[in-house]
């Protein structure tokens, strides 16, 4: 087990700057998830930690040791690949023992470790099979077993579940979470799926265009997204965004006007914002209430989705073309074509400034 520290890490491929000044620390035994849209550099960042790519600038430490120039084998990392990367001509046992065998580990130790790993991952029955005789989930477990058998200081996962079907993904996600709980080892996990990130992580790192957008616990990211990007990326269905205009505001709170919602008094501090400034208002689907339409402030229902336990009501937006989503417990009395008023829960409304940065809640209202 070890911690990982990244300081001003940069990576340039040819003329493309992939990773830009990333600072990050992964504590001992922590489960950290890198999440972001494709092309944000999350896999590259993981491969930099693994040593599969060279670092262009900055410092990478594993434990206390600077490992910038160490080859992967000297970093004490184990990696699970998206495509499993099992050796096709070896049995499950051989796959797991291969690294140990060539490291000249004693035969008894190899057997002991492989068997112990196989027991944890429930692979004992499969030890003599070849990868092609295994299902996707089993291959995934073997890939994890191979990485674990060497008892690395850090386990790295590169989108390990994206080749599995939806139900298996949920099951494997659970197994990985339990594995982390049991082993307590340091894990760094890359995914583009925010649900995986939310369910697995102690700490989520949201990446965008090679930069760290926000680092925090799943709860922090969900409740207090630092930017509009994080707010939109985390949570499903996604947060509703509406343009809003600042009427007046101070360090203690503000009043904004949003088309279709009318005037709202919000607890955000708008220091440094001029009256009339264009803001973005964000509300999660579960923090909206639907009411009978009155006056001009109404929206037309575009669609109603019934999911059994809950209902999504889609509303025509006043600006832009992304439908607004309202989420409530089933059943719902709302029908397509009806006009309704939207009432946001004011304690859960997010405000973003012109640069898409979240405006902080004013101090006294936070205390209250």
């Amino acid at each position: 087990m070890a911690s990982v520290t990244l300081e001003k890490i940069n990576k340039v491929f040819g003329s493309t700057h992939i990773i830009k000044d990333v600072d990050l620390s992964v504590g001992e035994g922590e489960f950290v998830v890198f999440v972001g849209p494709s092309g944000c550099g999350k896999s590259t960042l993981l491969r930099l930690i693994a040593g599969l790519e060279s670092i262009t600038g900055g410092e990478l430490r594993i434990g206390e040791q600077v490992v910038n120039d160490l080859p992967p084998r000297e970093r004490g990392v184990g990696m699970v690949f998206q495509s499993y990367a099992l050796y096709p001509h070896m049995t499950v046992y051989e796959n797991m023992a291969f690294g140990l065998k060539l490291a000249k580990t004693a035969k008894e130790t190899i057997e002991e470790r492989v068997m112990a790993t196989a027991r944890i991952l429930q692979l004992e029955e499969l030890l003599h099979r070849k990868p092609k005789e295994l299902s996707g989930g089993q291959r995934q477990r073997v890939a994890m077993g191979r990485a674990m058998a060497r008892e690395p200081r850090i386990l790295l996962f590169d989108e390990p579940l994206s080749n599995l079907d939806a139900s298996l993904r949920v099951q494997m996600r659970n197994e990985i979470a339990r594995l982390h709980h049991r082993l307590g080892s340091t894990m760094v996990y890359v995914t583009h799926d925010q649900v995986e990130a939310m369910t697995l992580a102690d700490k989520i790192v949201v990446l965008r265009d090679g930069r760290v957008e926000q680092v925090g616990s799943p709860h922090t990211l969900y409740q207090q997204p630092a930017t509009k990007f994080v707010a939109g990326f985390i949570g499903s269905p996604t947060m509703n965004f509406m343009p809003a205009e600042l009427i007046d505001g101070s360090a203690e709170g503000c009043r904004v006007r949003a088309p279709g919602l009318g005037e709202l008094a919000l607890p955000q501090s708008t220091d440094g914002q001029r009256s009339g400034a264009g803001l973005t208002l964000g509300v999660r689907p579960e923090h909206l209430r639907l009411a009978e339409a009155e006056g001009d402030n109404s929206f037309e229902i575009a669609n109603v989705e019934y999911l059994g336990n809950e209902v999504y009501v889609y509303l025509e937006p006043k600006a832009g073309d992304t439908l607004l989503i309202h989420r409530s417990e089933a059943p719902s009395r709302w029908k397509i074509g009806q006009r309704v008023a939207l009432v946001p829960d004011l304690d859960h409304v997010h405000l973003f400034d012109g640069d898409d940065k979240a405006l902080a809640i004013a101090k006294q209202s936070q205390a209250a």
Binding site: A50, G51, L52, P71, P72, R73, E74, V77, G78, M79, F81, Q82, S83, Y84, A85, L86, Y87, P88, H89, F98, G99, L102, A103, R146, A147, R150
Partner: protein
């Protein structure tokens, strides 16, 4: 569970009637298969089957090249005959056995060298470097040149008086006097092996390169993270994974090498130190006009190649997927 006999009986019969074997679709497929196969089988019988049977037949006769129609059946006399207190026939001819030995030696050595160098060239071509496409094309040149042409070219280069090879070696001070590469009993076998290896490396390299490019790239990254030395990765991962392709390359080359004729005939003609089974058979059949005896040699050549092939397929059955 007990099923009344009246209900059970038709159930038991039905699968057979509606079985895959008897269906209309099945019959149509069988008919289509035969339709496509027949011309091929006919052509094979005409160009391979018939000459082969003729050769078998002639090997039991005293046919001569000038007159094959009046050939008399003489049984196994071309192979082995006891006459006047001594054994005669192909099986007692030391030059024949020398040819067999030469053929096997040539085949084993040249194919082994081709495989080793073929793999090395393929690994080089598989690496990323500038102008890779150009080098790939250039490597193919020896394979693209007709054997007669390249053999003649090498014959000139290896010429003991005017050949550039002797000239270079002497200029470098490696040898004092010119070596008669293709004429000397010591060097001629190695000279023909070298020319054959030079010519066929591209073939093996190309097959191996195709196999290399099919390999899963991520395995190599996994091995890198696992800290496995690249040389070990080659022997423990790459080599096992390209073995099926390698075995295919070897059988192609082995069949070619066992019936080798052109390169050796052009370089060393009928010299016994490099004479192969094919050259021996040709000499008997064409130069000595003895169709019966030459056919006996050809028949044995066929049997030896068949034996080696069967043996090879049997030994490599798992890797080649023959029994799957």
């Amino acid at each position: 569970m007990s099923i009344p006999a009246t209900e059970g009986a038709p159930q038991a019969v039905r699968p057979r009637q509606a079985g895959y074997r008897g269906t209309k679709v099945r019959r149509q497929r069988v008919r289509a298969a035969w339709t496509f196969l027949t011309p091929m089988l006919f052509a094979l019988a005409l160009v391979a089957g018939w000459p082969l049977l003729r050769t078998f037949y002639f090997s039991f006769t005293d046919a001569s090249l000038s007159d094959t129609t009046s050939a008399l059946f003489i049984g196994f006399e071309n192979y082995l005959v006891y006459d006047d207190g001594a054994w005669y026939g192909l099986l007692t001819d030391p030059i024949w056995w020398r040819s067999v030995w030469n053929t096997l030696f040539f085949s084993v050595v040249s194919v082994s060298l081709e495989v080793v160098f073929g793999i090395i060239v393929a690994l080089l071509l598989n690496a990323e470097f500038k102008g890779r496409m150009l080098v790939r094309a250039a490597v193919l040149i020896p394979w693209a040149i007709p054997t007669i042409v390249s053999a003649k070219m090498w014959a000139w280069m290896l010429n003991d008086q005017f050949g550039i090879i002797n000239h270079l070696l002497m200029a470098l001070g490696i040898i004092d006097s010119p070596i008669p590469w293709t004429a000397s009993a010591t060097y001629s076998m190695w000279a023909v092996i070298m020319v054959d290896v030079w010519k066929t490396i591209p073939f093996v390299a190309l097959l191996v390169l195709a196999a290399l490019q099919m390999l899963p790239k991520d395995c190599y990254e996994a091995a890198e993270v696992d800290g496995i030395h690249p040389v070990k990765v080659f022997f423990r991962v790459t080599l096992p994974l390209i073995t099926p392709a390698l075995l295919v390359a070897v059988i192609f080359r082995l069949l070619d090498a066992l019936r080798v004729f052109d390169v050796i005939y052009v370089l060393t003609s009928n010299s016994t130190s490099t004479m192969t089974m094919s050259i021996y058979a040709r000499q008997q059949l064409v130069e000595f006009q003895d169709v019966g005896y030459g056919s006996a040699a050809s028949t044995l050549l066929f049997l030896i190649i068949a034996l080696v092939t069967v043996l090879y397929l049997y030994l490599g059955r798992r890797q080649l997927g023959v029994d799957q």
